[in-house]
């Protein structure tokens, strides 16, 4: 039978099973995926903190009027900050704890600045789900360990604001701060 010449069909496969067209398919699909990702990322990213939220200033705090045993609450970056002047009894109580038994082991000295150990400055944000613990205001419940008590899910913090009981995983966070004078501090 005489051999017929015909144009190769799209369904004809070369011996190795790959056609030049397959490469084009993969390349086209890959470009489509990259394009889709480049389109999706800005749609996700627009929900991240905007420039005005990211431009967070530091604040200065005057502690001169805070008596021993008292605490003040200030707003910083949309969150409360507790600044407490510990009494000698509270410092003693915090130092008497065997640190290795704690859920989040830290000494009081690690949570304060050298020379200003009586000033306990922490975020007033429970490390469980973010409520403001009670204990900074006058006459508020201070929990089983004399520090703070979170009413949302019952976390108890001690006089160094370390987690002692309840579902919270960490101690109250200590923000970055520095003393300018013995009674004036810059947070942030």
């Amino acid at each position: 039978m005489a051999s017929e010449t015909r144009l190769p069909l799209d369904t004809d496969l070369p011996p190795d099973g790959e056609r030049r067209r397959d490469f084009l398919y993969v390349a086209t699909g890959a470009f489509a995926a990259v394009g889709a990702a480049a389109f999706v990322w800005p749609m996700i990213n627009q929900m991240n903190p905007s420039a005005d939220v990211r431009a967070m200033a530091s604040i200065d705090l005057d502690l001169a009027s805070v008596e021993p045993g008292q605490a003040i609450k200030v707003s910083w970056r949309g969150k409360p900050v507790f600044a407490r002047q510990l009494t000698p009894a509270e410092i003693q109580q915090a130092n008497a704890v065997n640190v290795s038994t704690l859920r989040d082991p830290q000494t009081l000295a690690e949570r304060t600045k050298p020379g200003s150990e009586k000033w306990l400055i922490t975020l007033g944000v429970c490390t469980h789900l973010g409520c403001v613990p009670l204990g900074a205001g006058q006459g508020e419940v201070r929990g089983d360990f004399g520090g703070y008590f979170c009413p949302c899910h019952g976390s108890h913090y001690d006089t160094a604001a370390r987690i002692r009981k309840g579902p919270a995983p960490k101690n109250l966070e200590v923000p970055q701060y520095a003393f300018k004078t013995p009674t004036s501090v810059t947070i942030g």
Binding site: N48, V53, G130, P151, P169
Partner: protein, 438 residues
């Protein structure tokens, strides 16, 4: 769905014939809700709750769009704009209360709808996809209701937003980044409120779309019924219209009467008084609880108070709370009993009511402060909740001795009234093969 005996659509008017050959919308409605949809004739009043849920969604969408015309999603004015709706907008107090009470009623009917499905085995083959779409709707409802509650920007709104977005921060490594992304900042603030308004507007329409799939998935096998026995012939069904349209409208009348009574005479009975205090980012209310329809899941979240191996208690609680719902997706494969309805499952029927009681106790625990004895009770009943699905249900469905099933729906109906079973049962008709919807 159409059984072979379904009454086909016949356009009578010239306009009807003209439209039917171009856009057969009346034919579609006739087959979905009209006389062209044969329905088991023994459905009881628990089968009204699907329609009630649909109506509840429509009430939320209409009142929601109205409220959106007067509400301002900005932290400086949000709370005041809600008071402006209450005091100054004509009938604004009514729309606000209808929307707020409407959310509670939506959840109430959906919970009854879900437990109806659990009791009569409506999640079992061939209705698994129908069941799972329903759970998707439930999850979307919870997300929507949460964001709606935040819009008021009262104390509960603010702290609810802090806690619920805080759930995501429990995830290892990516958790904090996800929470910041959701909030658009480092604490709930204007960015949060603004986006929640946008999403609270969007999600009800997504729910609406999934409901269409839910009804579509229902109409392929057709409705389940209290016997759990498949439809075998024309004597087992009646056309949806006028029989069930009438019954649904009656149920709707009762529902709307109760709804109106609560809206007009006790609109705040289901809400939290603290949400009438404007949001204060520096102080959490002493007794913060979510809305009642989240209480059982909140109790499960709070039941985990100690770390397990390397998993912190916080993450455990979050995982358990989500698992409590996700587990329901697997129910069709956990309950392997071939008998659908609990009417013929004497042991499982008792365990069903025990489970209902457990959910109610969890609900009560979730509404109480995180103190003893509520924490201990939450732990015990959370353990039972998971045991019910993972241990009890698979075992019971394997070993239970079930009661004899009626031969057909119509036989069960007639037996109830002491009449002999008709000889015509399934004679010559045989098991009707469900056909795809048009």
């Amino acid at each position: 769905m159409s059984f072979p005996w379904a009454k086909h659509y016949q356009p009578t008017s010239d306009l009807g014939k003209y439209m039917d050959s171009r856009l057969p919308l009346p034919r579609f409605v006739h087959g979905a809700l009209g006389a062209g949809y044969p329905t088991p004739k023994n459905l009881n009043y628990f089968y009204n709750f699907g329609v009630l849920a649909g109506v509840a969604l429509v009430v939320q969408i209409i009142t929601g769009i109205i409220l959106g015309m007067h509400y301002a999603a900005n932290t400086t004015v949000a709370f005041d704009s809600v008071e402006h709706i209450m005091r100054d907008v004509s009938g604004g107090w009514m729309f606000r209360y209808m929307h707020a009470v409407g959310a509670s009623f939506f959840f109430a009917v959906v919970y009854i709808h879900i437990f109806r499905g659990l009791y009569y085995g409506s999640f079992k083959p061939p209705r698994e996809v129908l069941w799972m779409l329903g759970l998707v709707i439930f999850l979307l409802m919870m997300a929507t209701a949460f964001m709606g509650y935040v819009l008021v920007w009262g104390q509960m709104s603010f702290w609810g937003a802090a806690v619920i977005t805080g759930l995501f921060s429990a995830l290892p490594i990516v958790g904090e980044a996800i929470q910041t992304w959701l909030l658009g900042g480092f604490a709930p603030d204007n960015a949060t409120l603004n986006r929640f308004f946008s999403l609270h507007y969007l999600l009800p329409f997504v729910i609406f779309g999934v409901i269409i799939l839910h009804i579509w998935a229902l109409h392929i096998p057709g409705s389940n019924n209290p016997t759990g026995v498949d439809v075998k012939g024309p004597q087992d069904t009646v056309p949806f219209h006028p029989y069930y349209t009438a019954k649904d409208f009656f149920g709707l009348g009762v529902y709307l009467t109760i709804f109106a009574a609560v809206v007009f005479f006790a609109p705040n009975v289901l809400g939290e008084a603290d949400n009438y205090i404007p949001a204060n980012p520096l102080s959490t209310p002493a007794h913060i609880v979510p809305e009642w329809y989240f209480w059982p899941f909140y109790a499960i979240l709070r039941a985990f108070t100690t770390d397990l191996f390397f998993i912190p208690a916080k993450l455990l609680g979050v995982l358990a709370m989500f698992a409590a719902i996700l587990l329901l997706f697997f129910l069709p494969w956990l309950d392997t009993s071939p008998v659908r309805s609990n009417s013929y499952r004497p042991l499982n029927r008792i365990l069903f009511w025990v489970f209902v009681a457990v959910c109610l106790v969890l609900g009560v625990c979730g509404g109480k402060p995180a103190e003893e004895p509520w924490v201990r009770l939450s732990q015990i009943f959370t353990a039972y909740y998971f045991a019910h699905f993972l241990i009890i249900t698979p075992l019971v469905s394997r070993f239970e001795k079930t009661l004899p099933l009626p031969n057909s729906i119509s036989e069960a109906v007639l037996a109830k009234y002491g009449k002999p079973s008709p000889a015509a049962t399934a004679a010559g008709v045989g098991a009707a093969a469900p056909q795809p919807a048009e």
